[in-house]
C-alpha cells in the first residue's frame, strides 16, 4: 500500500509538471500570442508596453517565465489574472471549487441512483416492452447535448412555464452557497443537477445493463441458482456486485473529469460560478494565468481520482492488487 | 525402438524462466521456473511424447523449441544448428521447418478470416507460390486432412471442434515442415473425434515424413502415438523411455502415480488395480521444492530426496529416470548404474 501511494505521488508530480509545461508552451510560446496587448490597455505607448512587459516578467526567457509563474502559483500564491489585475488567481479557484463540487456531487448522486435503478429494471423486465423502451430513453439522454438541454430547461423553467405552479419556485440563474442558505442552494442546483445527470444516467444504465446480462451467463451465477438462492438475491449479491466493478471504475473517471472543470458547459448555461465557468471566461480572454491554474486544478483532481478508483477497484475485486 | 534418423531436434540444459517483477523499478524478485534444465533429442521421423500435468512446463518447452519463446539459457539445435540465440530475422526461414498445432480449436483460428485464407497465410508470408498455386495447395491440404475442398470460403465458426482442429493441422502442414509440435491437439475433442484425429495424425506423419513432438496430459493418447515418452514434472525431465517400456516398467514414482491415476474402462481391472492417490496439489513453479521436486508428494521419499536432486541415469535400453529410489530396479543394477557416470548430454541425446 505504501508503495502504491509513493508511486502515485511521484506520478502526480510528473503529470503536473508535464501538463504545466505543455500548457505554458501552448499559450505562451505560440507565435502570435502576445498577452502584452490585452494587459497594456488601449493604445499603449511604447513605454507603457515596455513597463508592462517588465512588470509581468514577459521580457525574460521562457524557462524563467515558467519558473516565475510556478512560483507565483504555488509558493507565494499571488499570481494575478491578466484580465483583472485585482483578481488573485489562487483564491479565485478556491472560491469557485465549492460550486463545482456542489454541482458535480449532487448530479453524481442522482445519476448513480437512477442509472442503477434503470439498468436493473431493464434486466428484470427483459423480454417485455419495457426493456427496449428504457434503453431508448437512455439513448435519448445520451444524445442530448448538455448545453442544449440546459438552455431548453432554462427556457421552460425561467421563461415559458415560470409563472405556473410547476416552476415558479425556480430561482434566477446563479448560485447560493450551502452555508448561506441551504434551501436556496438546493433550488438553484436542482435543475442543473438533473440536466447534467441526464447524459450520464443514459450511459451508465446501458453499461450496467450490458454488464448484468454478461454476468448472467457466468458459471458462478449458475452455481448460485443451483444452490437455491432467490432470483432477487442472485441479482443483488452476485450479479450486481460483480458488475459494480466496471461501473465504479467508469464512474471514477467521469467524476474526476467533471470535478476538474469538465462541467463547463453546464456551469455556463446555468450561470454557476464554478471552475468551469472560470475556465470558460479565461479562455475567451486568453487570461493565461487563470488558464494555467484551472488546468493544474483539473490535472490534480484527475490524478487523485484515478488513484482512488484504483484503490476502490482493488477493494471490489480481490484478485487485483493496486499498483 | 527402431533406429530413427539423425537427431532433428536437440535440447540441451534448456531453461526458460518467466521473471516476476515487483517494486518501484520493476526489479525481478522471483521467477516462474517453467523449464528448468531439460536435455533430450528427437530423431527424424520419430514421435516424442511429452507428458505431464498442468504447470509442469511441457507447453513452455514446446514453444521454446519452436522459438515462440526465447530460452533463458541452454541450447536448442535444429538439424545441428543452434537456434536458441537467433534473432527474429534469422529465425524466419527456419519457421518453415518447424510448426505448431495448438490445443484450443476454438481460439486458435482467427474468426474473421476464411479458412482458405488461414491455411494459405503461411505460404503468403514466406512468399511461396502465387495466388493460384496457393489456392490449389490449400485445397489439396483440405483434402488431405479429410475436409472438403469446397469449404475453402467458409468461416471457422461454421465448423465443429474436430473439424477446426483439422484446419489447424492443415495450416501447420502448409509449408511442409519437418517438425510439428502438437500442443495437446486432441484434449478438447470428444472421444470419438479424438480417435479420428489421432489416426489422421499418424497417416500424415507417414505421408509427409514428419517428426512429432506430441504434448499431452492423457497417458493413453500419448502411448498410442509416441515412440518415446518424456515425463516432465515442474520443469524437469524425470523419466524418458521407449513408449511400451514406460507403461510396463515405470521407474520414477511420479510416473507410477500418473499411470495409476488414469481411469481404465474396465470395472474389474479398475477395482483390482492398486490406486495410488497422490496427496496435495502440484506445487508452484515459482518456488519449487528442494532436492527431488516430487519428494513432497512421493510415498517412497527419504531424507536424501529432499536434500539432493537426483541425476538423470540410464537404466539400459534407452530408459532414463531421475530418482533416488527407482522402482523395480534390483540392487545390483542400481549399484551398477550408480557407479557409472550420471547421464551426460551425450547419453540422453543418443537416439535409441
Amino acid at each position: 500500500m505504501a508503495l502504491f501511494i509513493v508511486r502515485r505521488l511521484i506520478g502526480l508530480v510528473v503529470v503536473l509538471f508535464a501538463i504545466t509545461v505543455l500548457t505554458f508552451l501552448i499559450f505562451f510560446a505560440t507565435p502570435g500570442v502576445d498577452p502584452t496587448r490585452s494587459l497594456a490597455g488601449r493604445n499603449p505607448t511604447p513605454e507603457t508596453v515596455a513597463a508592462v512587459r517588465h512588470q509581468f516578467g514577459l521580457d525574460r526567457s521562457k524557462p524563467e517565465q515558467y519558473v516565475l509563474m510556478m512560483k507565483r502559483l504555488f509558493i507565494s500564491r499571488d499570481l494575478v489574472s491578466y484580465g483583472n489585475q485585482a483578481l488573485k488567481v489562487v483564491p479565485a479557484i478556491t472560491a469557485a471549487a465549492p460550486v463545482t463540487f456542489s454541482l458535480v456531487i449532487g448530479a453524481a448522486v442522482i445519476w448513480i441512483l437512477l442509472s442503477i435503478l434503470t439498468g436493473v429494471l431493464a434486466v428484470v423486465l427483459k423480454g417485455s416492452i419495457w426493456d427496449p423502451l428504457l434503453m431508448i430513453v437512455a439513448l435519448i439522454g445520451i444524445s442530448m447535448p448538455v448545453f442544449w438541454l440546459g438552455e431548453v430547461a432554462n427556457l421552460v423553467t425561467q421563461d415559458r412555464l415560470h409563472d405556473t405552479f410547476l416552476f415558479s419556485w425556480v430561482p434566477p440563474l446563479g448560485y447560493t452557497p450551502l452555508t448561506e442558505n441551504p434551501w436556496q442552494w438546493f433550488l438553484h442546483l436542482i435543475i442543473p443537477w438533473l440536466t447534467l445527470a441526464a447524459l450520464y444516467v443514459g450511459f451508465y444504465a446501458r453499461v450496467l445493463r450490458a454488464n448484468l446480462l454478461d454476468v448472467a451467463n457466468e458459471d458462478f451465477v449458475r452455481t448460485a441458482r443451483a444452490k437455491g438462492l432467490s432470483e432477487r438475491r442472485i441479482l443483488t449479491r452476485h450479479m450486481l456486485r460483480t458488475s459494480m466493478i466496471t461501473f465504479v471504475s467508469l464512474f471514477g473517471l467521469d467524476f474526476a473529469v467533471l470535478v476538474g472543470g469538465g462541467a463547463l458547459l453546464t456551469e455556463v448555461v446555468f450561470g454557476l460560478p464554478g471552475v468551469g465557468l472560470l475556465t470558460y471566461r479565461s479562455l475567451q480572454s486568453l487570461d493565461l494565468p487563470v488558464i494555467m491554474a484551472t488546468v493544474i486544478y483539473g490535472a490534480f483532481f484527475i490524478t487523485i481520482a484515478n488513484a482512488v478508483v484504483d484503490i476502490l477497484y482493488a477493494r471490489l475485486d480481490p484478485r487485483i492488487r493496486p499498483t | 525402438m527402431s533406429a530413427f534418423g539423425e537427431p532433428l531436434v536437440e535440447v540441451e540444459d534448456l531453461v526458460t524462466h518467466f521473471p516476476i517483477r515487483e517494486g518501484l523499478l520493476g526489479r525481478q524478485v522471483a521467477a516462474v521456473h517453467a523449464v528448468d534444465g531439460v536435455t533430450f533429442s528427437v530423431g527424424e521421423g520419430e514421435t516424442l511424447g511429452l507428458v505431464g500435468e498442468s504447470g509442469c512446463g511441457k507447453s513452455t518447452l514446446g514453444r521454446t523449441i519452436v522459438r515462440l519463446l526465447a530460452p533463458t539459457s541452454g541450447d536448442v539445435r535444429f538439424q545441428g544448428r543452434s537456434i536458441a540465440r537467433l534473432r527474429a530475422r534469422e529465425l524466419r526461414p527456419l519457421r518453415r521447418e518447424m510448426q505448431m498445432v495448438f490445443q484450443d480449436p476454438y481460439a486458435s483460428l482467427n474468426p474473421r478470416k476464411r479458412i482458405g485464407s488461414i491455411i494459405a497465410a503461411p505460404m503468403k508470408i514466406h512468399g511461396v507460390a502465387d495466388a493460384r498455386e496457393r489456392r490449389r495447395r490449400v485445397q489439396e491440404l483440405l483434402d488431405v486432412v479429410g475436409l472438403s475442398p469446397e469449404h475453402y470460403n467458409r468461416y471457422p465458426h461454421e465448423f465443429s471442434g474436430g473439424q477446426r482442429q483439422r484446419i489447424g493441422v492443415a495450416r501447420a502442414l502448409a509449408l511442409r515442415p519437418k517438425l510439428v509440435v502438437a500442443d495437446e491437439p486432441v484434449s478438447a475433442l470428444d472421444v470419438s473425434i479424438q480417435s479420428q484425429m489421432l489416426n489422421l495424425l499418424e497417416d500424415l506423419q507417414e505421408e509427409f515424413q514428419l517428426t512429432y513432438i506430441f504434448i499431452a496430459h492423457d497417458l493413453g493418447v500419448v502411448r498410442h502415438v509416441s515412440d518415446r515418452i518424456a515425463v516432465i514434472y515442474l520443469g524437469k525431465l524425470v523419466e524418458l523411455s521407449p513408449a511400451a517400456e514406460l507403461y510396463e516398467r515405470p521407474i520414477m514414482p511420479y510416473t507410477e502415480a500418473l499411470l495409476s491415476a488414469v481411469p481404465i474402462p474396465d470395472p474389474d481391472l479398475s477395482d483390482q488395480r492398486e490406486r495410488i492417490v497422490l496427496q496435495g496439489d502440484v506445487p508452484s513453479p515459482i518456488d519449487p521444492p528442494s532436492g527431488c521436486r516430487f519428494h513432497p508428494r512421493c510415498r517412497y521419499r527419504t531424507d536424501v530426496c529432499s536434500a539432493v536432486e537426483p541425476p538423470l541415469v540410464d537404466y539400459g535400453g534407452g530408459h532414463l529416470a531421475a530418482c533416488h529410489h527407482p522402482l523395480g530396479v534390483d540392487d545390483e543394477t542400481l549399484a551398477r548404474v550408480r557407479r557409472a557416470a550420471p547421464v551426460t548430454d551425450a547419453a540422453s541425446r543418443a537416439s535409441p
Binding site: A224 | V191, S195, I264, P265, R275
Partner: protein, 345 residues
C-alpha cells in the same frame, strides 16, 4: 428379495427438452427415461451434444431460456418437479438435490470468500445462526480434504487451486445433506492425478452423506470405477442403459462399442490403429429418421429405418438398448469392432 423394492428416489419419464431457435427446433433431449434409487451411483455417458447436461439441468429446472420447451415428467420422491411452484423448487435446489459443474475455476464467485459462499448455501436452507453455519462450513472443508480449513475458509477462490476449488464446490453441494448429488463433468477440467483424488472423494462422501450420485461424463473410464448403473446417451436419447458390468463386458449398442473401442487403453497392448466412429454427431434440429446412429453405424441394415425403442433385448434383465441387431450377431460384430477390425474412419 421378497420385499417390494423401495420407490425410486428420482424417476425421469420421457423427458423432452427442445429449444426454439432461428434455425429451427433443437431437440436437445428427445425422450429420456430412467430411475435413480437411494444411495445409487448413476453414470450418464455421452459426448458433446448428446443432451446429458441438459437432462440433469432440467431435473433441477436450471434452464432459464425462454425458448425452452419441456415435456414429460421428473418425479422426485413421487412429486413431479415440473409442476412445482418456483419457491418450492428453490427449496429442492441445493437443499435436497445439489449440482456441481465442470469448470471449478469459474464456478465460484470471485469476489466473495469461500466460507461465505458455503455459508450462503447453508443459510438458504437451514435455520441456524451465522456462527453455526461458519462452523459447519469449516467442517465441510475439512471433510473434503482441504488442509488448514479454518484459515483457508477465509481465502478467496483465486487463492485455491483447481482441485481445491472443486473440493470446495463439493463441500458446498453437500452442505445441506442432499439426497442426490449431480456432478456434471466434475473432473474434465482437472489433471489426471487430481481427477483421481476427486473421484475418490465423491466415492467416499456418498457413503458418509448417504447421497445418490448422478455422474455425467464423456469418459467411460471415470464411471468404470464408481458407477452402479450407466446410461449412454446419443443425440438426445439413451441408447443403452444397464448395470456397470453389463455395459462394459456385454455392451449391446454399436455406439457403445465405438466409444469403448476409441479409447486408447493402457491395460491392453497398443493397437495399430484406433477404432473410430465415422462421421459426426447428427444435427439436433433435423434428426435423421429411424435410428439416430444409423448414418455412422457400420452395421446398419434395413430394419434400422425404424427407430428402435429402448428395451431389454438380449443383454439380460435390466439391460436396455436401442438396436435391432439380434443378440448373436451383436456379439460377433462387437468383438470385431472393439478389436479394431471393423470398418473405421
Amino acid at each position: 428379495m421378497t420385499a417390494a423394492p423401495p420407490p425410486p428416489l428420482l424417476e425421469v419419464r420421457d423427458l423432452k427438452v427442445s429449444f426454439n431457435t432461428e434455425d429451427g427446433v433443437v431437440r436437445a433431449v428427445d425422450g429420456v427415461s430412467f430411475t435413480l434409487g437411494q444411495g445409487e451411483v448413476l453414470g450418464i455417458v455421452g459426448e458433446s451434444g448428446s443432451g446429458k447436461s441438459v437432462t440433469m439441468m432440467s431435473v433441477l429446472r436450471l434452464i432459464n431460456d425462454p425458448n425452452a420447451v419441456f415435456e414429460g415428467e421428473v418425479l422426485y420422491k413421487g412429486r413431479n418437479v415440473m409442476d412445482l411452484p418456483e419457491d418450492r423448487m428453490r427449496e429442492v435446489r441445493g437443499g435436497e438435490i445439489a449440482m456441481i459443474f465442470q469448470d471449478p475455476m469459474t464456478s465460484l464467485n470471485p469476489v466473495y470468500r469461500v466460507a461465505d459462499q458455503i455459508m450462503e448455501a447453508i443459510l438458504t436452507h437451514q435455520a441456524i445462526g451465522k456462527a453455526a453455519a461458519r462452523t459447519r462450513a469449516v467442517d465441510l472443508l475439512r471433510q473434503v480434504g482441504i488442509s488448514q480449513p479454518e484459515r483457508r475458509a477465509d481465502d478467496f477462490p483465486h487463492q485455491f487451486s483447481g482441485g481445491m476449488r472443486q473440493r470446495a464446490m463439493i463441500a458446498m453441494a453437500l452442505a445441506n445433506d442432499p439426497d442426490i448429488l449431480i456432478a456434471d463433468e466434475p473432473t474434465t477440467a482437472l489433471d489426471v492425478t487430481i481427477q483421481a483424488q476427486i473421484l475418490d472423494l465423491i466415492a467416499r462422501l456418498k457413503d458418509e452423506f448417504s447421497s445418490a450420485v448422478v455422474l455425467i461424463t464423456h469418459d467411460l473410464g471415470v464411471v468404470a470405477g464408481i458407477a452402479d448403473r450407466i446410461g449412454v446417451m446419443y443425440a438426445g436419447r439413451l441408447v443403452e442403459f444397464g448395470g456397470k458390468r453389463d455395459l462394459f463386458y456385454d455392451p449391446q449398442h454399436p455406439y457403445t462399442w465405438g466409444l469403448l473401442g476409441s479409447i486408447p487403453r493402457l491395460d491392453r497392448p497398443k493397437q495399430d490403429r484406433l477404432h473410430s466412429i465415422a462421421g459426426m454427431p447428427p444435427s439436433l434440429i433435423d434428426p435423421p429418421a429411424g435410428c439416430r446412429f444409423r448414418p455412422r453405424c457400420p452395421h446398419a441394415f434395413d430394419r434400422c429405418e425404424t427407430e428402435p425403442a429402448l428395451e431389454v433385448r438380449g443383454g439380460g434383465a435390466r439391460h436396455l438398448d436401442r438396436c435391432w441387431l439380434d443378440p448373436e450377431s451383436k456379439r460377433a460384430l462387437r468383438d470385431r469392432t472393439m478389436r479394431g477390425e471393423s470398418a473405421a474412419a
